[in-house]
């Protein structure tokens, strides 16, 4: 890490947080509830759902690449960037979103897709390259498009930021109170598009929440060798917008910070930036041996946010051991079904590659 000290955000008082049922599968809740205390069980459930998904994709991705590991082989080919460890970011932010709000995610998109209500079956079928996929097999894991949920992602670093500004511009022009969330990694915050987007959103007072997932690494390059400031929140000041750095990879802390930012955007007060110090539990992409990671790798498991949150909820009485098992089982069942759906879906015909260049 470079110079400067990170901003801190008070941890919400977990004892006073109540439990409420979610109203849609993605965990979106009515606006009036969102900004208040979190539904802790929903947050936990949302994280577990993502983790079970990523773990299973991990397993399936590698399953048929043996004995000679070939990136292009198997039922799931291509690059695979999994978000294990970063669940607090997606779940904490998306808990404040409603259907109709937009997200542009980067190359590591699954957690935000799931947390924002993208259909797990269609998403999985896309990752398997099937005709039932979100994009009929044309997009793949880095290019998931779900216009119904205003969700998209892009494999080009930081280039989802400008697109989110445009979605926010459309929301604003149409007089809605929709919000656009733009997500990128800490490595991406050194790309020109980041700067241009923050200035544009600030200048035009657009309802955007810029989220930076700081997982310490951009592939093999540590933050200290990519970023001249310890907190991108410092950069927000250069655009006259609020910037906050969430130092803890805890879903409730993220929830709190995101609530303020989403509320600000939704009420027409303009954009904000949230940098969340999160954790890349696994390699940058699958197949990454992480030799460069050194000692950082040794403590990774201890820093896993999900067991830690489970422990806290057990202690506070919000969760029981039984419930933990049920939640995991429910998630597994959903994931199993999605994988089965994908595997059973047809593979596209080669000649379909010629379709959809133009509308």
């Amino acid at each position: 890490m470079a110079m400067g000290s990170a901003s801190t955000v008070p941890v919400v008082d977990v004892a006073t947080a109540g439990l409420r049922a979610s109203i849609d599968p993605a965990g979106h809740r009515p606006k009036e509830e969102n900004m208040n205390s979190p539904n802790r069980l929903d947050l936990y459930r949302g994280m577990v759902r993502i983790r079970r998904y990523e773990s299973r994709i991990l397993q399936e991705y590698h399953a048929d690449k043996k004995p000679a590991w070939d990136i292009g082989a198997g039922l799931i080919p291509g690059e695979m960037h999994l978000a294990a460890g970063q669940e607090p970011t997606a779940v904490g932010v998306c808990a404040h979103l409603e259907k109709g709000d937009a997200i542009t995610a980067p190359h590591r998109p699954h957690h935000f897709a799931l947390a924002h209500g993208v259909d797990m079956n269609a998403m999985t079928a896309e990752i398997y390259g099937r005709t039932t996929g979100l994009c009929r097999g044309k997009g793949g894991h880095m290019h998931l498009f779900d216009p119904g949920n205003h969700f998209s992602c892009s494999g080009i670093i930081a280039e989802g930021y400008p697109v989110a500004c445009g979605q926010a511009l459309a929301f604003k022009r149409r007089g809605t109170d929709r919000v656009a969330v733009a997500v990128a990694g800490e490595g991406a915050a050194n790309q020109g598009a980041f700067h241009e987007s923050l200035n544009l959103a600030a200048l035009w007072n657009l309802p955007v929440v810029f989220v930076i997932e700081d997982n310490d690494w951009a592939i093999s390059v540590p933050r200290s060798r990519s970023t001249a400031t310890a907190s991108n929140a410092d950069r927000a000041a250069g655009y006259g917008i609020p910037g906050v750095r969430v130092e803890d990879n805890e879903v409730e802390v993220v929830f709190e910070a995101a609530g303020a930012a989403v509320e600000r955007a939704r009420s027409g007060e303009g954009p904000s930036l949230i940098e969340i110090h999160t954790l890349r539990l696994w390699g940058h992409f699958e197949g990454d041996a992480q030799a460069y990671r050194g000692a950082d790798l040794e403590t990774v498991d201890e820093r896993d946010p999900i067991p830690r949150y489970a422990t806290a909820l057990l202690e506070s009485g919000d969760l029981t051991e039984d419930r933990i098992l049920t939640i995991a089982a429910e998630a597994d069942a959903e994931v199993d079904a999605a994988i089965a759906f994908a595997v059973d879906s047809p593979v596209p015909a080669p000649e379909d590659a010629l379709l959809s260049v133009f509308a």
Binding site: P162, V163, C165, G166, Q167, V357
Partner: protein, 340 residues
Amino acid sequence: MTVTEIPTRRITTAKAMAEAIALEMRADPDVFVMGEDVGPYGGIFGSTTDLFDEFGADRVIDTPISETGFIGAGIGAAIEGLRPVVELMFVDFYGVCMDQISNHMAKIHYESGGAVKVPMVLMAAAGAGYSDGAQHSQCLWGTFAHLPGIKVVVPSNPYDAKGLMTSAIRDDNPVLFLFHKGAQGLVWMKKNPRSIADVPEEAFTVAIGEAALAREGTDVTIVTLSLSVQHSLDVAEQLEAEGISVEIVDLRSLVPLDRDTVLDSVAKTGRLLVVDEDYESFGLTGEIAAVVAETDPTMLKKPLRRLAVPDVPIPYARTLEYGILPTREKIAAAVKDLMA
């Protein structure tokens, strides 16, 4: 080419563009304009003249010099169903925003398997001839036509400019609309009288993907576009007196490319000159050559001729610049060569 039943007036290409945009803005509240100096200034090359006065700052939006930012914002707005008309001031500046253009604007529809549309017009000024140097004088249409997912149109006159702009705005796909500064009919730049012409007042379309036979002839086919159409027409008139009959295909669109009109003309004349103000190699002249050579090379009575910028950046000094541009003199000489 003009539709004579409808009231027309003589206007410049620039005015024709602005008029097409205004008509679409009146008809559809989702159409809006963004770009540098498109507001009170009216666009550096006049493409948004008077729009600000009529539609105000909310629909004719001056942007910061953040092309990645505002072109990306155009894409985002288009995804949400608006119909942005975004200006990149000079096409030469594509390099600061090419990712949004080629990896996003061009690909989102395809990547989404057709689920997402990007109904957006990106317009940009192109072309040389007034000593603006290597970074402000390029055409680059070959660069964009090479990349799947973007329709590319390049009008040569006011009528087509209005009709193509209307089509572009109504198209559900991203359309790159390149206009040659030297064909805008600007008061402050040397111009060919062909840059001011009769154009109907009301809205009309010119179909994207259809070339025009700008002139019929029997001896030599010139396939070209943009300002070079104006030059070629001048040359054809001059050569007619010398007994050479020149047919001119004005491509108007590069994507989709109207192969049939090219092939029909070459089949007729057997002699082909491709005139292009873009760089010669790996561009338009090659594509036209391939269209012929993969169809029937025996159509060619003689080897085809390419007249384009000979793979050098555009130099500043007038003598140097005109040394590499496809001028009337060079077009005439190439036609005569083909007839020799």
